[in-house]
Structure formats: structure tokens, C-alpha cells
Amino acid sequence: MSQPRSAPPAVGPPAASGSDAWARASALAGDWAPVAGRILLALVLAWFGYHELVRPGLWTGYVPVVSPASSLAIVAVLVHGWLLLVLAVALAAGVATRLAALLAAVLLAEIVISLTISGGLSDLTLRDAGVLGLAITLTGVSQRRLVLRR
């Protein structure tokens, strides 16, 4: 006599379950990873923008060509800091993010090129190159989450 067997539980194969979880994680990352990148880039820009605005004298050494002790260097730092601050808020709030990311990329490219010319390829230069890469990436991402639409 054969022993009666209980029916196996009605669950899908493990491969399909893992695939679903991966798909959900991918969708989640697709939605929120650009938000994280946007806000982290905004933090970087805001930090530098704020400090350039309140203590411009400490940053004039970065201004190429112009003497660090000149008023022109101070003005250049102030303008740069103001731009960084506005771009930071635009990115954080999701206002015209691709345009803001593009402008940030231009500013960062100028910084990377300037540092490379003046000091060669250093750890700082390459770190800024990474931030530049983030800004460039955000120029191609359509923002859907945490944006100020109205």
C-alpha cells in the first residue's frame, strides 16, 4: 500500500521569488537613487557655497590668474559661492534639476581643470572629478521623487 502524500505548499519556485525581489529593489533604486545623488550633490554645493560667501578671503587662493590678495579675487569667490548656493537649493528642491546639474557640472569642470593646471593630478582633483561625474549623471536623469512641482 502506498502512503498518502500531502500536497506540497503552493509557492512559486525560489528563483522567481528572488527575481521579483531584485526587480522591486531595482525599481526602488531607479526611483530613489537619483534623489540621493541630487541631495548629496546639493549638500556639497551648499557647504562650499555658504563658506565661500561668509569667508571669501579663505578661498581666493583657488581663483586662477588673479592675485589672491586682490578685491577681484574676493568678488570672484563671492559670485562663485552665490551660484553654488542657488544651484544647491535648486537641486535639493528638485527645481529645474537637469539645468542645475548641468550648471554645477560646468562649475565643477572649471574647478577640476583649474586644480589640474595649478597642482597637477592629486587626490583632491580626482575627488572633485568624482563629484563632477555625479553632476554629469544627474543632467540625464528625469526626476520624479521629492521635487517641488508647483
Binding site: L58, P68, W82, R98, S118, L148
Partner: protein, 188 residues
Amino acid sequence: MRLGGEPVGRWGLALLAVTGVAGLVLGWHGWATRAATAAPSLAGATSSAPAGSPAASPAATTAGPARSASAAAPATAGPAAPSGSAQPGPKLSSEPYAGVAFQVWPGTLGTAARQAMTGLKITVRRQGNGLLVTAGVIGQPASPPHRYAGGARVYVLEASLGDDSGNADYNLGDDGLVVTDAQQRVLP
């Protein structure tokens, strides 16, 4: 309204406008106080003994790695204020900046001290019972030497070594100088 092909609403524009105005206010503050961040040197503005004083020891210690001319931003004054005869202050170990103080004199420079001194030039001479310290930023005119009566040790402050790269310090705003007596009390 569209900016760069993206729709921007009234609130978005208002936020950018407010940020722009706030940035202008901050910039005005920065412009108004630019002298306060640009003038002081590491060792303070005054000195109580001339650099070529006959009492100065001929054995001088000069330290400071070479640095590119790109980072010429002035440094802010350290906690040591220019006054050679005042009483010692609290112990260095009790100060909040103790963790970022690197001894540069006497003795040989450690790796961290050498990195902390990036972009700076510090010269220390014994003079009587004190030290005659000249500190400044490489590439800029040196400030007059400052005498620290009872001085025994010299420290450089560097809040963030991450802004030192190779032979350049890209932010001298977090650098400073501290001189202590033999009991490690901060001298003014």
C-alpha cells in the same frame, strides 16, 4: 514656466528667488568682513622682539614643505594671541582643538605634523627663557616674529588634513598655531 526644458512652478521660482536674496545677504556679510579673514597671520600681528635680536639663538629650526602657489589663501590666527607677557592659559589637552594639534618643535616632525604644516612656514628660535616664533603662509610675506615667554613647545593646528594634498594646502582657514610652556599650558 520652463527652465532648461523642465517645468518650474511659482513655488520653485519663489524658492530660488529667496535663496538668491539670502545668498546676496551672506555675500554682503562676507564682503564686509573680508578683512577679518584676510589680515591675520598664524603668529599674530605684533611682536615683542625683532627678528634680528642679538639674544636670539643662532640655532633656528625652520620647517615647512614646499607648496604650490595656487593655495595662497591666508590662514587665520591660531588660539595664541599676540601678547608675550600674559599668564599661561589652560592646558592644551583641555582645549577642544587638542585633537588637531601636532607638535612641530622641538623634535623631528612626525608624518601627521609634516602634513599639517603643508603650506605653512614656521621658524622657532630660543630667546632667553622663551621662544621666538615666526609663522606664516608660504608664498606670502612673513609676519613679524612673536615672542612667547616661557615657551617650550610649538604645535600647528590642522582641523582637516583632507584639504592637504601633495605639497598644497587648499584651505588654510582651519590652520593655526599654538605655543605652550613646559607644563603644556597654552601661551597667549
